[in-house]
């Protein structure tokens, strides 16, 4: 029996909890000077400290602390005047020390919130997601499982370990439980992660690439009967590495829980793994026997006690909050809601703003980036930012169009040229010999030629059947290799055939 989502939310209230791990984009690791560049050859970015060789000691990366404080401030947290690192003890081969340096009861940032807006049946609605803590820790190495199916741990004969990632600074952002989202739980979760990603990006503290694992989300979900006080048992879904997956995973877990509960079963508190292909989760290790992590203060490190002056300096340098910025830009550019949403979705806000700041009209900037250029990026399957066209190029093209030196159609050729690496827009124009035909005499010659060739159509227009003019204009444009201004052609053509143009 498969329940529909509507059946689930008619009976149960979901309660969310989200843990997001963010890899900071520091140059060096959290506790040693090894590089953090993604994708290096295995074990080339390791040292005595991050391999946990006997005798090696950690020393805290100052930039990582700064980034964490910035994140805390951006999430409206209080910054603890005194915080400490702790050891979280458990054995796992990808964790060289067999303890993780993390924070326990004394995190750097506590008690913040993030407001997210989603579209509901009653229009846009804001949900507040409360942040319990933001703390620092370190990433683990990566294991490659050999011998089993599809590189999975189960059935593998042995594993190969690469510790390049071990010790990369991680910030863990933990929400309080989020009740009251009702059927919108999956959307709220997705919007929260998206908002977090935007904030982190604007802070410049992380690459926030979910597909590379620099932003990872664990989603905790439980259900309780609507109106009930007591929380249900939660499951913890890991491996949720895209925004779409956050939504799918939570929806899927809600349905799975409801089916269990409806059948008189119970939800097991466990870790589950999200599977991208099916959109379902698979059971991981059961947490019936809770790990005893034996936390204690890390004796190799001394406490972090940021003074008020340091915190205020960091606060003063915070970028504008992304929700406020969006409102500001939407107003300034007079963008309809739908278009604004499209821009946010396509992640073109920064690039459009840069183009506008270079003097281009907001609407035209938006149209270029969201339309033609996005289409080309899609065709090539690359990110917008990886195309060799810049906001300056687009601003130049818009200016050329405004000056009448390019038609929209010609401008598209210029865009293509720039992306093909033929140079700046002016260079493309020169190399390709693109120019608007402004010479009325030349246009008239083409019009006369076309009217002679298509005498029947010309006659229709002359008799007042204006829609027929389109075919003639098209032919003239073809005749002039697209370099004519279509509006001017229309004007001249209609005049030639004795029709007023206004």
């Amino acid at each position: 029996m498969t329940l529909s989502y509507d059946d689930v939310v008619a009976k149960y209230e979901p309660v969310l909890g989200l843990e997001v791990h963010v890899e900071l984009n520091t140059n060096s690791k959290m506790f040693c000077g090894c590089s953090t560049i993604f994708g290096a050859e295995p074990n080339t970015q390791t040292c005595p400290v991050c391999l946990a060789l006997p005798g090696a000691l950690p020393v805290v990366n100052e930039k990582a602390i700064e980034s964490t404080i910035k994140i805390g401030l951006a999430l409206n947290c209080s910054i603890a005047p005194f915080s400490r690192f702790a050891r979280k003890n458990y054995f796992y081969p990808d964790m060289p020390k067999n303890f993780q340096i993390s924070q326990y009861d004394e995190p750097i940032c506590v008690d913040g919130y993030v407001d997210v807006e989603i579209e509901t049946d009653e229009g846009p609605k804001t949900f507040r997601v409360e942040v319990e803590r933001v703390h620092m820790e370190e990433d683990t190495g990566k294991s490659l499982h050999v011998g089993g199916a599809t590189g999975r741990i189960h059935g593998a004969e042995y594993s190969l370990l690469d510790y390049n990632r071990a010790g990369i600074p991680l910030v863990e952002i933990v929400t309080k439980i989020v009740p009251g989202t009702g059927k919108y739980a999956p959307e709220v979760a997705k919007a929260y992660v998206a908002e977090l990603r935007d904030i982190l990006r604007s802070l410049g503290v992380s690459d926030v690439k979910m597909e590379q694992g620099s932003l990872r989300c664990d989603a905790n979900v439980s259900l309780r009967l609507i109106g009930a006080e007591k929380l249900g048992t939660r499951s913890e879904t890991k491996n949720v590495n895209s925004l779409r997956s956050v939504e799918r995973a939570i929806r899927g877990e809600m349905i799975r829980h409801a089916e269990l509960l409806n059948a008189g079963g119970r939800v097991v508190q466990e870790t589950r793994h999200f599977q991208e292909d099916t959109g379902l989760t698979r059971s991981g290790r059961s947490k019936e026997q809770a790990e005893d992590y034996r936390y204690f203060p890390e004796p190799d490190l001394v406490p972090v006690a940021p003074d008020a002056a340091w915190i205020e300096t960091l606060r003063a340098a915070l970028p504008e909050r992304s929700s406020i910025r969006r409102k500001r830009l939407q107003e300034a550019w007079a963008v309809p809601d739908k278009e604004m949403a499209a821009m946010i979705n396509a992640d073109v806000l920064d690039i459009v703003e840069a183009t506008v700041l270079l003097g281009a009209d907001p609407t035209k900037s938006r149209t270029w980036w969201l339309g033609e250029i996005s289409r080309i990026a899609n065709d090539k399957d690359v990110a917008l930012a990886d195309l060799s066209i810049t906001p300056a190029d687009v601003a130049e093209i818009v200016a050329l169009v405004n000056a009448g030196e390019l038609t929209d159609k010609l401008a598209r050729q210029v865009v293509e040229g720039v992306i093909a690496g033929e140079g700046k827009p002016s260079e493309v124009v020169a190399k390709r010999g693109i120019k608007v035909v402004n010479d009325d005499g030349a246009l008239m010659a083409a019009i006369e030629k076309v009217c002679a060739e298509q005498a029947e159509t010309a006659e229709k227009v002359r008799n007042g059947h204006l829609p027929a003019a389109g075919a003639l204009i098209g032919a003239v444009m073809k005749e002039t290799k697209g370099q004519a201004d279509a509006a001017r052609v229309r004007e001249l053509l209609l005049g030639h055939l004795g029709q007023a143009t206004n």
Partner: protein, 107 residues
């Protein structure tokens, strides 16, 4: 905060208690070892439990002998070991990675 705070801890451990601790500490132990250690612990725990006699709520714990704060390093990359050096002590290796027996448990 920790749960299950017991102000008077057990000053003896059973064989099974020691077995559980050995599991957490990842040390295989024979039955004989477990029993012996449990017996020794009765004496040792009795002696160390004395710390509670003076550890009142008004006393701050000291986790570090010196009152140092905010010791950081600049975010600067320094050369890593070569992979040969990194793997020089490895009991087994393959494809420039540490080769380890199959890992059970969580993915």
């Amino acid at each position: 905060m920790r749960e299950l705070i017991r102000l008077t801890p057990m000053t003896s451990l059973s064989r099974d208690d020691v077995a559980k601790l050995a599991g957490l500490a990842r040390i295989e132990m024979s039955d004989e070892e477990l029993v012996n250690m449990a017996n020794e612990f009765t004496v040792i725990l009795d002696a160390v439990a004395r710390v509670q006699e003076v550890a009142g709520a008004d006393v701050q714990p000291t986790s570090h002998p010196l009152p140092l704060r905010n010791i950081f390093r600049p975010d600067v990359v320094v050369p890593s070991l070569t992979p040969e050096e990194a793997l020089s002590g490895a009991p087994a290796q393959e494809e420039q990675r540490f080769r380890v027996p199959q890992i059970l448990g969580e993915e």
